[in-house]
């Protein structure tokens, strides 16, 4: 697999930068996010105090990560419609490995490792075929691409692994794009988002959950798993500005999708856009962020009750700390501790010179 010249140059330049800033204890909480720092795109490992522990240069804007925690490694993906991925050790040991999808695919920015660390699966666009796929990469052989599965929809975005360790859940956002037209949406009138459950060993589509026809413009994009095994998702609405459909939902296998609008004022503030979804350490509280609205909203995973909101301008990244608290990042450089039970605590103040954090923050 040929890598882009820019990827090569970024990684060649990485030699100096790619090293752990501080030693750390094995059980220390570390987080991974993509960011723009002084004009340069990076993937960064930070600790709960917001200190950089590892910085990896990227050729362009990154998005999310697949994390193989037992083997202390991760893969940074390009933001859609990018075509680069870089596998690296989160401890800064060894050389990063860059790889790319085939010429007629691009990444959507999300992926997962199999529990044994053998395979990496990444959501991709088969844009000429107008279908979503998850590309399969052999993590034990330099991330060689060995095949793909259909996701049963268009525009797959986040993919997560269910608790059984063998079933994927893919959020098919439903939005058709083609790199010839940059990010222009080609099928708003006929969008059909869905959640697909895919058998990771066979690629079989096990189950698919869809929204009611009148919500066909509600693009399902990000997901997390709660303590009870249910999939929670956040959506982005592509319809009329003054329509305010629910943006947060839950799906349990074999059941219909449940949607939770929350209080009207909160829903309005979300501005038809949820940019990331995270679960707290207890698995009981779901957090959804809206960078457009500048707020995070918390939900009781058991009842779907809205537990409150916290404001953070251009805030999007969320990852679990301990208990019911989460670490949050913003496009303006802020890092905060947040949660439904605590007031927002600043870890790093926003400032123009601070790194602008991309949508997702992941706990390693």
């Amino acid at each position: 697999m040929e890598i882009d010249r820019r990827t090569f140059l970024a990684l060649a330049g990485a030699a100096a930068a790619f090293r752990p800033a501080l030693a750390h204890a094995a059980d220390e909480a570390l987080f991974l996010g993509a960011r723009l720092n002084g004009g340069a795109f990076e993937a960064a490992v930070i600790d709960a105090s917001g200190r950089d522990r590892l910085v990896l240069p990227l050729e362009a804007r990154g998005h999310s990560f697949a994390i193989d925690a037992p083997r202390r490694r991760a893969v940074a993906f390009a933001r859609s419609p990018g075509r680069f991925a870089v596998a690296f050790s989160v401890d800064g040991t060894g050389e990063p490995i860059a790889f790319a999808p085939p010429p007629d695919r691009h990444f959507y920015g999300h992926g997962v490792f199999t529990p044994d660390g053998r395979l990496l699966l990444a959501t991709e666009n088969d844009y000429d075929g107008e279908r979503g796929v998850t590309g399969l990469y052999d993590a034990s052989a330099g991330f060689r691409r060995i095949g793909e599965f259909e996701t049963g929809g268009i525009g797959p975005h986040e993919v997560i692994l269910l608790a059984d360790g063998k079933t994927l859940c893919v959020a098919n956002g439903g939005i058709l794009t083609h790199p010839d037209y940059e990010r222009v949406k080609l099928n708003l009138a006929t969008m059909k988002p869905s959640l697909s459950y895919v058998d990771m060993e066979t690629g079989d589509l096990l189950e698919q959950a869809e929204l009611a026809p009148e919500l066909h413009k509600l693009s399902i994009r990000h997901m997390t798993l709660d303590r009870f095994g249910a999939v929670w998702f956040g959506a982005q609405y592509q319809g009329e500005d003054d329509a305010r459909p629910p943006l947060v939902g839950r799906h349990r296998r074999g059941h219909a999708i449940e949607l939770f609008p929350g209080p009207e004022a909160t829903l309005k503030k979300l501005d038809n856009y949820v940019g990331s979804v995270a679960i707290d350490a207890s698995g009981e509280i779901v957090a959804t962020s809206s960078p457009r609205g500048g707020l995070s909203v918390f939900w009781d995973a058991e009842t779907g009750r809205c537990l409150g909101e916290r404001q953070l301008k251009d805030g999007c990244g969320l990852a679990p700390l301990s208990g019911h608290r989460l670490l949050g990042t913003s496009g303006r450089g802020a890092i905060v501790r947040t949660g439904p039970d605590v007031a927002l605590e600043s870890v790093r103040e926003p400032q123009a010179s601070a790194p602008a954090w991309d949508n997702h923050l992941r706990r390693i």
Partner: protein
């Protein structure tokens, strides 16, 4: 922050809600919504209603007349309707995104040729024409479909082909209906208009004049990007060998460049109406003028294209003109989302783009 903004503006933002947060209001005309309504929306929608109505009437004269004498008038009215749509297309928020109206008038881009396939299928079928075109595929409903029906193979025999003529009439009527619906959507007494012209905390979708200004900035930016990225660049291709004029909108009628020039003119009129060129802030006005400068050059270049669209993208001199126009458009977009938005006190979110 500048570096951050300049990175962001390279990425097409076609979202449905303002992705701009507001920091201050002093540089924004407090009546920005009313200014845009009176100075741009109302005249633009009226012109589109008149042009699409005139097209429908002209088709009425031709269909059943068994003479091609009215065809010249149809072509003229089509050209005017496309130009009027060029201005309307800039207002891609509120009523124009409701009920898929944008796509129903202008199903674009269409990289797979869905319009051609469906229109040909419908013309060749023995089934009666659908009673309610508005309930059919969006690709069958709008101006790109008419571009083929009027100017594609067999378009010159419109008067002799009852089915083709009746379908053309139905499409024109449908476009005229949508033009009427757009005016209704913006009409006095609607919640949308109230929110746009007198935004307030309890109104939806706009709660402040800054949000209205943000919507205008976003609409202008989206229009420039769409014309550039979805209409011109795919036909231009990365090299002359990859030029394909048939990927441009309205290539059959030859309206491609007049249409994109009309869209650019629409953006100029919109930002002027919003007070970004002669509004309360000299700083904003300076950036608005800079945008106007780039956009005027882009229009001039497109209007100077000599060849028919089908060939022009692949001919050196015209190719240079089109290419220059796309560069000037990118410059205008850059000024808009960077300096101008900044001077208005609007900060583009790093994380607010659709699809992430």
């Amino acid at each position: 922050m500048q570096a951050r903004l300049s990175r962001c503006v390279l990425i097409l933002c076609l979202s449905s809600a303002p992705a701009l947060a507001q920091e201050t209001t002093s540089t924004i005309a407090p009546n920005v919504g009313s200014r845009v309504l009176e100075g741009y929306v109302t005249p633009t929608l009226a012109r589109f209603r008149e042009a699409s109505g005139a097209l429908s009437n002209a088709l009425g004269d031709v269909c059943g007349a068994s003479s091609d004498s009215g065809l010249v008038a149809v072509h003229q009215r089509f050209s005017e309707a496309v130009s009027a749509w060029g201005h309307v297309s800039v207002l891609r928020f509120g009523p124009l995104v409701a009920e898929n109206r944008f796509e129903r008038v202008f199903f674009w881009p269409d990289p797979r040729g869905v319009t051609l396939r469906q229109v040909q299928g419908l013309l060749a079928s023995d089934e009666p024409l659908p009673q309610d075109l508005a309930a059919q595929s969006v690709a069958l409903q709008g101006l790109p479909a008419l571009d083929y029906v009027l100017f594609g193979t067999g378009g010159d025999k419109l008067a002799d082909d009852a089915r083709r003529c009746a379908y053309a009439q139905a499409v024109a009527d449908n476009v005229a209906d949508i033009a009427g619906a757009l005016e209704s959507g913006w009409a006095e007494g609607t919640a949308f208009r109230a929110s746009f012209t007198a935004p307030a905390a309890d109104r939806d979708p706009y709660r402040s004049s800054a949000e209205v200004a943000g919507e205008v900035v976003k609409a202008a930016g989206t229009a420039i990007e769409f014309a550039r990225n979805a209409e011109l660049l795919p036909a231009l291709g990365k090299s002359v060998e990859k030029a394909r004029g048939k990927r441009a909108p309205f290539w059959r009628s030859g309206e491609t460049f007049a249409f994109t020039a009309a869209q650019i003119e629409g953006v100029q009129q919109l930002i002027t109406a919003a007070g970004f060129v002669d509004g309360p802030s000299d700083l904003v006005n300076g950036y608005g003028e800079s945008m106007n400068f780039d956009l005027a050059h882009a229009r001039d270049a497109l209007e100077a294209v000599a060849g028919a669209p089908e060939a022009a993208f692949g001919e050196e001199e015209d190719r240079g003109r089109i290419s220059y126009a796309t560069i000037a458009m990118e410059g205008a977009k850059h000024t808009l989302n960077g300096e101008l938005a900044g001077a208005l006190g609007l900060v583009m979110g790093f994380n607010a783009l659709d699809g992430d």
